[in-house]
């Protein structure tokens, strides 16, 4: 071997070694930086409190050069207002806003893996406020209380009390609501009037109306339409609809009673006659719905209602503004909205049987009907990643504040495509923006009264908000419910399996700890 070849080989070997050493050494330096920097800056006074003022009267671009990445669910609704208003916020503050979207069913997992793995690719999350109880104790999201207290432009006192509470944990605010969610029943005013039917007051009425109008031509195209459209696809929204039906059968003694667990021992309230009746009602609505309803999500059932193909549907507040949009709606001025139907029988918690409503069993009943409007999901809310730099935290908070401030929010909640529903007291009281958006006086009043009636109900049922609520609801309930809808489980089997699987989660997480959480979130003593 000549010396030239030898030199080439030696250099090659050294190069390979140096590449390996560089590769091995790189991560060590990369992992050190973020962890130490963020807490050090956290001790400073929250700079973001100045940001909302900036959005009101910009005096300079305090977030020039700052880029914030916000994670939320794939739109177009919910993400659309963020994307649309991002450039406006940039204009005001200098911060660049990137909106990253993932499917709804993956959002929880995505947020958590981002935070717990230390990746911290996102500065803020727009997610379900029910998840705050998972993230806040672990220190994954920022305590926003000092930000909110110093933020006059947010008008926090104008946010309805339920949403202020639902976005808090342990007395501290962890997320800023951009949306208010409450299930309601929508009906076709013209179709019910023609058939001489009243809007349903109970779930039995709902089934009777759906049955009566199923197969009738509701949109004048000569074809039979559907009595009811409530989506039933797995991994979509079934696990919320069922609680809207079950709540009035189970909860009758006020909001602090709660519909999910027995507040004495944390046993699930799903293996009793009340929940079984709710299962039967939910399944029976499918008899009066589209043939492929078991594979439909809320977007499908919403679309069918707006095309005039359904006499009844259950939805969040979205249908109200969507129904007045001439581009997408064939039910303009034909859509009525009511608070969710109730029941004339309620659960006797001691025996597990249904008993008739009277002054004792149903103290909040109206005309003998117990209502328990379900604040399903709780509305989309913005939380700030606790592990990012202070400047990014401030900018992320300022962006959520900007979105929630009346100037922006009042315009967004009256547009159906945004997916945002009213959550401020003033949005219920001031009807003018709704009329300006295209509502008729009566439609606006009926729509807002339907929601307000639900929020004002002393027997309103809040969504589950305890650790692992996602596993209780979106995994176990979803799976068992989809098996039940598919006919793979009987009502008794579904109730028993759900009871067993929820008990298993409670045992794993710790019964006492879960009970304390549960009672705390519903205000039970």
């Amino acid at each position: 071997m000549n010396s030239k070849n030898m030199l080439v080989k030696i250099v090659s070997v050294m190069m390979v070694f140096s590449v390996l050493l560089t590769a091995c050494g790189a991560p060590a330096t990369a992992t050190e930086a973020p962890a130490t920097q963020a807490p050090a800056e956290e001790t400073e006074a929250p700079a973001a409190t100045a940001a909302p003022a900036e959005t009101e009267a910009p005096v300079g671009k305090i977030y020039d050069g700052v880029t914030i990445d916000i994670l939320t669910f794939v739109g177009p609704q919910v993400a659309e207002p963020l994307q649309r208003r991002g450039p406006d916020f940039t204009e005001l503050t200098g911060a660049t806003v990137n909106i990253i979207t993932v499917p709804n069913s993956e959002l929880y997992q995505k947020v958590l893996t981002d935070a717990v793995s230390g990746t911290n690719a996102y500065d803020g999350y727009l997610f379900a406020p029910a998840w705050v109880v998972d993230f806040a104790p672990a220190g994954l999201i920022e305590d926003l209380t000092p930000y909110v207290e110093a933020d006059a432009a947010l008008e926090w006192d104008d946010v309805a009390p339920f949403f202020r509470d639902f976005n808090s944990y342990d007395g501290k605010v962890y997320s800023i609501p951009l949306d208010g969610d409450m299930h309601m029943v929508y009906y076709r005013i013209d179709s019910l009037e023609e058939a001489g039917l009243e809007p349903p007051k109970t779930w039995d009425d709902y089934l009777a109306v759906a049955k009566a109008l199923n197969g009738k031509d509701l949109n004048g195209d000569g074809e039979g339409d559907y009595g009811s459209c409530i989506s039933k696809a797995p991994a979509q929204q079934s696990y919320w609809w069922i609680w809207s039906i079950a709540a009035p059968y189970i909860q009758s003694q006020g909001s602090s009673q709660g519909p999910f667990f027995n507040t004495a021992d944390m046993t699930p309230l799903v293996n009793n006659d009340a929940f079984k009746r709710a299962l039967e009602v939910y399944k029976e609505t499918g008899l009066y719905g589209p043939p492929d309803e078991t594979n439909q999500g809320v977007g499908d059932s919403r679309g069918l209602f707006l095309q005039g193909r359904c006499a009844l549907t259950m939805d969040w507040g979205d249908i109200g503004p969507l129904a007045i949009d001439p581009a997408n709606s064939k039910v303009i001025d034909k859509t009525g909205a009511i608070s969710n139907p109730g029941s004339t029988e309620v659960l006797d918690w001691a025996t597990g049987k249904l008993v008739p409503c009277d002054a004792t069993t149903c103290p909040y009943a109206v005309d003998g009907v117990n209502h328990a409007p379900f604040a399903s999901f709780g509305g989309w809310a913005g939380a700030v990643n606790a592990a990012v730099d202070q400047k990014e935290k401030d900018a992320a908070y300022a962006f959520f504040s900007y979105m929630a401030q009346p100037a922006q929010s009042n315009a967004d909640v009256v547009v159906g495509a945004t997916g945002y529903n009213p959550f401020r007291i003033s949005q219920f009281e001031n009807i003018q923006p709704w009329i300006d958006a295209g509502f008729s006086q009566s439609a606006a009043e009926q729509y807002l009264n339907g929601i307000k009636e639900s929020f004002d109900s002393p027997n309103m049922a809040a969504d589950l908000r305890i650790p692992k609520s996602q596993q209780y609801i979106q995994v176990e309930l979803d799976r068992i419910l989809s098996l039940y809808i598919a006919g793979d489980l009987t009502t008794d089997e579904a109730s028993q399996q759900l009871y067993d699987s929820w008990e298993a989660i409670t045992e794993t997480e710790g019964r006492e700890a879960q009970l304390t959480f549960y009672k705390g979130t519903i205000g039970a003593k």
Binding site: V16, V116, A233, D292, S501
Partner: protein, 400 residues
């Protein structure tokens, strides 16, 4: 010292170059110590190992380490903790859950009561496996590894048969494991038959065959999620593009997805449509590369088309076909896009595959449970791949 009296004269008589190098060094005169010579020799010896080291490390890092790490995760419980997460060792709990309670039904399926038919089918398979074992034991070339392999094979096939016969009929319900097996074996069967048929067609000298070759390849170039959405629309009887056809046939109130087998069939159709082109293109290449002479000779001898296919074409393409099926077999076990998009795994859990099952657990942050399902999938894929390689492919190729 020269240990070989014949020395280098054996070069060219079958000695390998490496031996030659040693012998050459041994017969040369002792050289004075030179530093650059020692470094050169060291570098020469180390070069191969050093150059391969990055690849080995990359493989270890990207493949072996995750495998071991995920094995540990499958034995642990994942929890969020202040500042991050914690993994608590729980032994085989995650695996145990897959075989009991409602999660057991999810994974294995719901077992129906025994009927004469299930006993007959299960009995036939058990007898076949017993004969298979007996024939091996009577063989003179019995080895411990061979015996163990066959015992494992018989046990595995027996258990899978037991699972299938009790969940496929009557009141039984398929679990994610058996649904995956249906996707794999039914899907691959039709993909191969259709792929071979199309390949046979397009190797004929027909007008437009080049055009159709490209057309037949198109489905393979579309992203699986796109295919899933397309088939979701096609099977939608109320809003899809075929709605007028469904209505004309009186099927406007029919839905593929209301019925478990209807939904599985819809997914299988999408899967066959997506993967037939892969079979097709490889089989076209195999068909075109077979020698023409035997076919011409057979034609001259009066053989008909079927005889030519059976005795010349099929043996010629068999090795390629076996490899093709093996690749698809391994790939098909991982099906997730189509059931996720087309049916969300429904109705119930009827269309969930093992990968989808693992995905659901992962989505719920049941990372340990997800890893356990993934490991069960790994065992299943390895089991079938080994059966295929050792028993079917090897024997098929040997008998040619």
């Amino acid at each position: 010292m020269n240990t070989n009296p014949q020395g280098p004269t054996q070069i060219g008589l079958g000695l390998e170059p490496h031996s030659y190098k040693i012998m050459k060094t041994q017969t040369e005169e002792p050289q004075p110590f030179r530093l650059h010579s020692v470094i050169s020799t060291f570098a020469d010896r180390m070069a191969g190992s050093v150059f391969i080291l990055p690849t080995v490390l990359a493989l270890l890092f990207l493949s072996i380490f995750p495998l071991i790490a995920s094995l540990y995760v499958s034995l642990a419980k994942f929890d969020i903790a202040p500042g991050g997460f914690k993994l608590t060792f729980v032994g085989l709990d995650n695996y145990k859950k897959l075989f009991e309670g409602s999660e057991g039904i999810h994974f294995l399926g719901k077992f129906a009561p025994s009927t004469p038919l299930t006993w007959v089918v299960f009995g036939v398979v058990v007898i076949a496996l017993a004969i298979f074992m007996a024939r091996y034991l009577l063989n003179v070339r019995v080895s411990i590894s061979g015996l163990m392999g066959r015992v494992l094979l018989s046990l595995g096939l027996g258990l899978i048969t037991w699972m299938l016969v009790y969940t496929l009929w009557n009141e039984g319900r398929l679990g994610t494991a058996s649904t995956t097996l249906v996707y794999v074996f039914v899907g691959i069967f039709f993909q191969f038959i259709l792929g071979l048929s199309l390949a046979m067609l397009t190797v004929q000298r027909l007008p437009g065959r080049r055009f159709f070759r490209v057309i037949f390849l198109l489905p393979m170039m579309i992203t699986p999620v796109g295919i899933a959405y397309m088939f979701r629309m096609l099977t939608d009887t109320s809003k899809g593009p075929f709605t007028p056809i469904w209505q004309a046939m009186g099927l406007s109130d029919f839905s593929w997805v209301n019925n478990a087998w209807g939904a599985r069939t819809a997914i299988l159709i999408g899967d066959v449509w997506q993967w037939t082109p892969f079979m097709f293109i490889v089989l076209v290449a195999a068909l075109e590369s077979q020698p023409v002479e035997p076919i011409e000779a057979a034609t001259v001898d009066g053989a008909n088309s079927w005889q030519i296919f059976q005795h010349i074409t099929w043996p010629a393409i068999l090795p390629v076909s076996m490899t093709l099926i093996l690749i698809r077999l391994i790939e098909a076990f991982k099906i997730v896009d189509l059931p996720n998009v087309m049916t969300n795994g429904g109705p119930g859990t009827a269309t969930q595959s093992l990968t989808y099952h693992a995905f659901i657990n992962w989505r719920a942050l049941n990372i340990g449970g997800s890893a356990a399902v993934a490991y069960m999938l790994l065992f299943l894929v390895t089991f079938f791949a080994m059966i295929f390689v050792n028993l079917i492919r090897q024997r098929t190729v040997e008998t040619l």
